[in-house]
Symmetry: C2
Subunit: 460 residues, 2 copies
Amino acid sequence: MNNNLIAVFKKIVGETYVLTSKEDLLSYGYDATPGFFHLPATVIIPENTGQVSQVMAIANKEKIPVYVRGAGTNLSAGTVPTQGGIVLLMTRMNRIIEVDTENLVAVAEPGVVVSDLNKIVEQSGLIYPPDPGTVTTATLGGTVAENSGGLRGLKYGVTKHYVMGLEVVLADGRIMNTGGKNVKDVAGYDLTKLFTGAEGTLCVITKIIVKLVPAPETRKSMMAIFNNLDNAGNSIASIIANKIIPATLEIMDNATIRTVEDYAHVGLPVNAEAVLLIEVDGIPAVVEKEAAKVLEVLKANKADEIRVAKDTADRDKIWAARRAALPALAKLRPTTFVEDATVPRSKVPDMIRAINEIAAKYKVRIGTFGHAGDGNMHPTLVCDIRDKEEMERVYKAMDEIFATAIKLGGTLSGEHGIGLGKLRYMEDQFGPVGMEVMRTIKKALDPNGILNPGKLVGEC
Amino acid sequence: MNNNLIAVFKKIVGETYVLTSKEDLLSYGYDATPGFFHLPATVIIPENTGQVSQVMAIANKEKIPVYVRGAGTNLSAGTVPTQGGIVLLMTRMNRIIEVDTENLVAVAEPGVVVSDLNKIVEQSGLIYPPDPGTVTTATLGGTVAENSGGLRGLKYGVTKHYVMGLEVVLADGRIMNTGGKNVKDVAGYDLTKLFTGAEGTLCVITKIIVKLVPAPETRKSMMAIFNNLDNAGNSIASIIANKIIPATLEIMDNATIRTVEDYAHVGLPVNAEAVLLIEVDGIPAVVEKEAAKVLEVLKANKADEIRVAKDTADRDKIWAARRAALPALAKLRPTTFVEDATVPRSKVPDMIRAINEIAAKYKVRIGTFGHAGDGNMHPTLVCDIRDKEEMERVYKAMDEIFATAIKLGGTLSGEHGIGLGKLRYMEDQFGPVGMEVMRTIKKALDPNGILNPGKLVGEC
């Protein structure tokens, strides 16, 4: 990038907020997705919407690619600046502008860390439910752009269910607002939802209005161990069929159980085919009733062992097992791909079985855990990215996992987004017409193709 | 429209499903919005998606406007064929394809009447929550296109919160699918939400996947009478601040109370400034607890009288008063405009007070009732559309009501859509950039401008 432009950007955001040295740029060339790296030409760190608007107007005129970035926890290579250009780092815009307890909304800038927002709203007895695994580092803006989910997705939904309004800067620098604080708002096209989950391909998000909900008064956690996968699957279906929507309903398969036990020694039976981890929340009377019903269902579906948390320490122990799943699997080999292929919840056993078959077929080590209640699985492929022969098998296994999800009526992404990582499967899910429509929208809103080019909808 | 084309359409959908006689066309020239009428050239009634696709391909080639229509209960002139052309009547596509109790979803065609869907899913202990006042006549497709709300919106949201996937036919006849049965699905742009509430300007909806929820086990209804509007307003804010989200939290102002009492003799005190009608629902323990808290809040906020329904008959009596609001107001004068200006819930008293001042200023009779809990008011202007002088005042009052809603951080529509009725205010809410972006999307997806032209985003 030429020095005149750099000087202009420095004038807009301040001398120290434009990075250009190779050492400075290095950390912005990748995110949490293995196998993708590209150095940006510069990193620009704006302080406010006006600065973002000025930067975008110039980038658009000069046709410079712009990659919006928060904490870089992305799992689908969505923030990797694959064509160079500008990384627009939003971490400086990290103000929580308002917590409005009358209307149950918060207004914040994109650089706010999600758990920081929760710390503030908790003081009013409220929660912001989306809770991705990276909640203590991920930024609100990143989770909105990626439409992140989390453990509570079954009962509480994903990020898009909480985004009520946005301020955004368009590709050409124009500023616009969508939505607002109104619980009911059906005027105009739902641009709030269109921009949420658009992975930075349509606009730069500069302000976010989110819905808050009352914090549950209490919760109860349980763990059920199954020597037969189908019994676990039937339990999931039966819990929902009994009209219980737990806050969390997680599964770990045998490969994950073995790995977690080996890593964390939490007392999991290494021969079990599946473990379910369940938490119901709400007011005490409901929690008691729902927990009793869940236990009944688990017994009826032949759970081989059930553990109920009696206190906070017990609860922590149960969830420590679940939290250990990813680090334990990641420790096995140098490279970890956490995928998020998702299926309708009735298909969870089919999906786990298929993943096991695929692992055997391609001799790839895959542990599967995830949000069974909402069908959002995390087949986690561990490997060594330096081993070409192994990686061929890994990518083939991945292809087959996603093809299976789509065949089962599922989706490529329950919560991690598409980015580049899953781009090659998009047409399988959306068909040529769906892809054309998405590209038509992308081209209409970003005619010069500068916003996260090549991602989500591919080149257009 | 020339006879060759009519013959082609008859070949596609069947001889009897293409209407052309003036008597037949007459009923399709208007909807439930006063002051808008235009005769279509023809009414075409397709039986399946393939037929819709064929009709659209021809209409696009010939540049014939197409107005998709269900039951015609629209309140913003959204279905009036203002530029002639084709009314595409979807009532023949009225199959409920599937009720999937494992995944808690239903799949249905757009012509299904909403209450018919509910009758079917109730058999599985489930409900489809959106419940517009027209629930026994409105079609599912119409409510999805308009993003309809209803009495339960506070707790359960509006239609868009339940649409999980769509099959649509694009302006040029191409068929595409969006979303699916996955609770978590963040792949690609959220076209499901973009098309929901697009009022037939972007595509023809031909199949709908909706989310179902467990039916509440029980409910409790209450009525509180206030001689002071602020006390009613404070009660609303305080109920929410106490983390109670009632299923329904309705308000009627003095003008509405007087009219309802005069019409239905349900024992309302005609001097009260406001009546709140509240229903909490869920499992019995929760309902008892929440009802007790609501009563406490009402008393603390100086409700002058509180009535609690002891049984179903009592409950019916309370809701009969609310249901009488619109017919009672409508009976006063020949013409009724039911508007749906919506504000953040904390602004409800300000909004009601402003509407009363506007009514006095323009000497227009306005009764206001509506969904106080979610800020969705229904200022209802009764008048005589044949009286030009009065109508001038009515339209001025309407302009000022919507301007006030926007000034209070509200929206033009909580549940009725924009159509033509509120088109003139759109730029006030969305600004020139917002309007340009919406028109850009419209033009990108419907380059010939044949789908409900001139509505929602105006001419483009």
